[in-house]
């Protein structure tokens, strides 16, 4: 073997070992587990083929969790990204109290999701929680925010947007700061309106950031379930059951590791497909300087 090849492998080994140990091996092990039965006490696991997946097809809660996750994703992703951009544009210019405003926008990101969920638990308390008190003063009635199936998922979505938008704002803000001011001046000379400049110059130049933020938002839409644990436990009647929470519930509450592994494979496939779409299709339309 050539000396360079040996060197190359030696240099790659640490990263490769980490990748295999923490990413690829667990994924393969999960796939294997999803094709076996759950070992219980004296009954060891045995090969069951696709039976776990077939059982999922008969599981209405699985489909509801998928649907809930879909709603959750298509609501949180665009809203938090647009909000982040708007906030970044707002605090990018010289306005009084800029530092305080930036901090206020970023604050929710610094708090752990568990703490946020507990704060919102108070906001959402029926009758005497903050929201109901404000709405009550305006003459509205009582809302069981987390106990009503029609309101529970939107309530969780609001919490997620509140937490995420500030985080994405930081990336947009950094990107905006790095735009060369000469473009702004050139635009002004040509008589471009603010809206035109935003649409034709700023937004295209922000595309790499937008792609990065979108990837993060998509991952978070499937990954962030801490508030489900604190606020609803997936209830009422699975109205807020998201895919990852359902995996947790199946794997660690019901100790049904085989079904949980099958669910994880489904989640992996979904995330893989989304990542492929984002990098393959969207990525090609992004202009990198």
């Amino acid at each position: 073997m050539r000396r360079e090849t040996v060197h190359a492998w030696l240099l790659l080994t640490p990263a490769l070992a980490l990748l295999v140990a923490f990413t690829h091996w667990p994924a393969v092990a999960t796939l294997w587990d999803s094709l076996s039965s759950t070992p219980r006490g004296a009954r060891p696991a045995h090969w069951v083929g696709l039976a776990n997946f077939a059982a999922l097809m008969d599981d209405p809660v699985f489909f509801q969790a998928l649907w809930n996750n879909f709603i959750y994703a298509i609501a949180t992703i665009p809203v938090s990204v647009v909000l982040a951009l708007a906030m970044a544009l707002a605090v990018n210019r010289a306005i009084p109290g800029r530092a305080a405003l930036r901090m206020a926008f970023f604050l929710p990101t610094m708090l752990p999701m568990i703490a946020i969920a507990n704060i919102w638990l108070f906001f959402y308390t029926p009758d005497y929680g903050l929201l109901d008190q404000v709405l009550g003063a305006l003459g509205f009635g009582r809302h069981n925010w987390l106990g009503d199936p029609a309101l529970a998922l939107p309530s969780l979505i609001a919490v997620a947007v509140w937490k995420e938008a500030g985080f994405f704002m930081i990336f947009y803000l950094a990107a905006l700061q790095s735009l060369p001011p000469v473009l702004r001046e050139a635009g002004a000379l040509e008589g471009a309106s603010d809206w035109y400049y935003l649409r034709r110059v700023t937004l295209p130049l922000l595309m790499p950031t937008t792609l990065f933020v979108l990837v993060n938002a998509v991952v978070n839409a499937f990954r962030l379930v801490d508030h489900v644990v604190v606020m609803t436990h997936g209830g009422p009647d699975n109205a807020t059951n998201l895919l990852l929470y359902y995996i947790y519930e199946t794997g660690f509450r019901f100790m049904d590791t085989a079904t949980a592994a099958a669910l994880t494979v489904v989640l992996l496939v979904i995330l893989g497909a989304l990542a492929g779409f984002q990098f393959g299709v969207l990525g090609r339309r992004v202009y990198y300087r």
Binding site: R40, G41, A42, V61, T125, P126, D127, Y128, G136, G139, G141, R142, N144, L146, G147, D148, P149, H233, G234, G235, P236, D237, N238, E249, F252, R253, F254, M255, D256
Partner: protein, 425 residues
């Protein structure tokens, strides 16, 4: 040959420190849940500090969340090969823990004559979830019954007798409706009653409601459920029909029942007796404690946690765990825990201690839960217990939210639980 003999000769020497260490387990870890308010962690830490002073053995109490969380944490840690040596877990998890094959029976750890006497010293009702296959698998630690807490001030204000809590369903509904108060705009400022319908708690409350019409939710073996029995449907219908005039429509969650009660947002809650001391310390109004009603006469459900011992611990650790369990459930400690929480002391002997006698004499509410033990049923306890709990709770929630009728909802629950339990028949 020589090599092997030398090796064999060296073995006892090599093993000696390990044996010495094993014979005197100096450090134990256990998980325990808290399902009520109040500074109970400090109380538990205090017991373990006392034990250390008395015996020199360190016991690390690990607060592990609510009952569901504690179960998850203990099982996961044991699966990973380093769980606690023993734990306080829901008494109703008996069948599931057996199935997981992680428990060691008290008989296997070894009970001498004193030990046997100790096992026989508990209230028999609390040992109901402890025996399987002729062996004893757990002992009661913090046991409870579902009881009613009611705001006496609200009772007087609504023209009800604060010393006469309703004993039957009709009276209960009427009282709840009378207690619900609206302001000028029609907004409710005080609800009559709140009952927990969230996951992990709905099935417990519902066990009491079913018992109130004389229906059990499962068989003793934990392999069958009776969710679609006509009387079960009757119980759920009663619960649903308390809304909207007596109780808010939809789900009320266990963790907010106490704050709701203390805020005056609801006049009555059904909660565990383990919450008594917490509410007593915080209520700014006179409140009463009573047995929950029944269709004809009061009936309730037992609940709470038992001490379980785990198989993966070494022989010495098991013995040491058992010794600690005996110490912490001794009458004086049981009495103290009962006073500090409101849980029913686990043995009759605890009620003969001067401390608890005096406490009950000065605060008769402390004995209410115990007095309703004879009309209490066991709580929902099956194989795959967490899954069955959720199957039932999902349908209860669908009914309380008006998405389904009680009959079809409970038929769905029964179908699903039959499917899950099929393998255990």
């Amino acid at each position: 040959m020589l090599g092997r003999r030398a090796l064999l000769g060296a073995l006892p020497v090599l093993a000696a420190p390990a044996i010495v260490r094993a014979q005197t387990a100096q450090s134990l870890t256990f998980y325990y849940p808290i399902a009520v308010g109040g500074p109970l962690q400090a109380v538990m830490d205090g017991y373990c500090a006392d034990y250390k002073k008395e015996t020199g053995v360190t016991v690390n109490p690990v607060y592990a969340g609510n009952y569901g969380d504690a179960l998850t944490k203990a099982q996961t840690a044991i699966k990973a090969g380093q769980g606690p040596h023993f734990a306080v877990l829901l008494a109703a998890e008996m069948h599931s823990l057996q199935d997981a094959d992680i428990l060691v029976s008290l008989d296997e750890i070894g009970l001498d004559a004193d030990g046997k006497k100790w096992v026989d010293s508990f209230y028999p009702a609390f040992m109901a979830n402890s025996h399987v296959g002729g062996k004893t698998w757990s002992v009661p630690f913090q046991r409870s019954t579902l009881i009613a807490y009611y705001n006496k001030q609200a009772f007087s204000e609504a023209g009800l007798d604060p010393e006469a809590f309703p004993k039957d369903w009709a009276g209960m509904s009427k009282a709840a409706q009378t207690l619900t108060k609206q302001d000028g705009s029609g907004r409710v400022t005080r609800w009559g009653i709140k009952i927990a319908g969230d996951l992990g708690n709905a099935q417990w409350t519902f066990g009491a409601l079913a018992n109130q019409v004389g229906q059990k939710l499962m068989n003793e073996a934990g392999t069958e459920t009776y969710f679609d029995a006509p009387k079960t449907v009757e119980a759920l219908t009663y619960w649903r029909d308390l809304a909207p005039r007596g109780t808010p429509p939809g789900i009320s969650a266990w963790p907010v029942l106490s704050p709701d009660f203390l805020e005056g947002n609801t006049a009555i809650i059904w909660h565990t007796t383990g919450n008594l001391t917490n509410l007593r310390g915080k209520a700014k109004f006179p409140f009463g404690v009573a047995g929950v009603p029944g269709k004809d006469s009061p009936h309730t459900v037992v609940g709470g946690g038992n001490l379980y011992f785990f198989k993966h611990a070494s022989a010495a650790e098991r013995t040491a765990s058992l010794r600690f369990a005996q110490w912490i459930s001794a009458p004086e400690r049981a009495a103290d825990w009962s006073i500090k929480t409101g849980y029913i002391a686990s043995s009759p002997a605890a009620y003969d201690t001067p401390a608890l006698k005096q406490y009950v004499a000065g605060f008769p509410a402390a004995a209410v839960a115990r007095d309703f033990l004879p009309v209490a049923t066991g709580e929902l306890s099956t194989f795959e217990n967490q899954r069955i709990q959720k199957v039932l709770t999902d349908q209860i929630q669908a009914v309380l939210n008006g998405q389904k009728e009680p009959g079809p909802a409970l038929a769905d629950a029964q179908r699903e639980s039959t499917r899950v339990l099929r393998q255990f028949l």
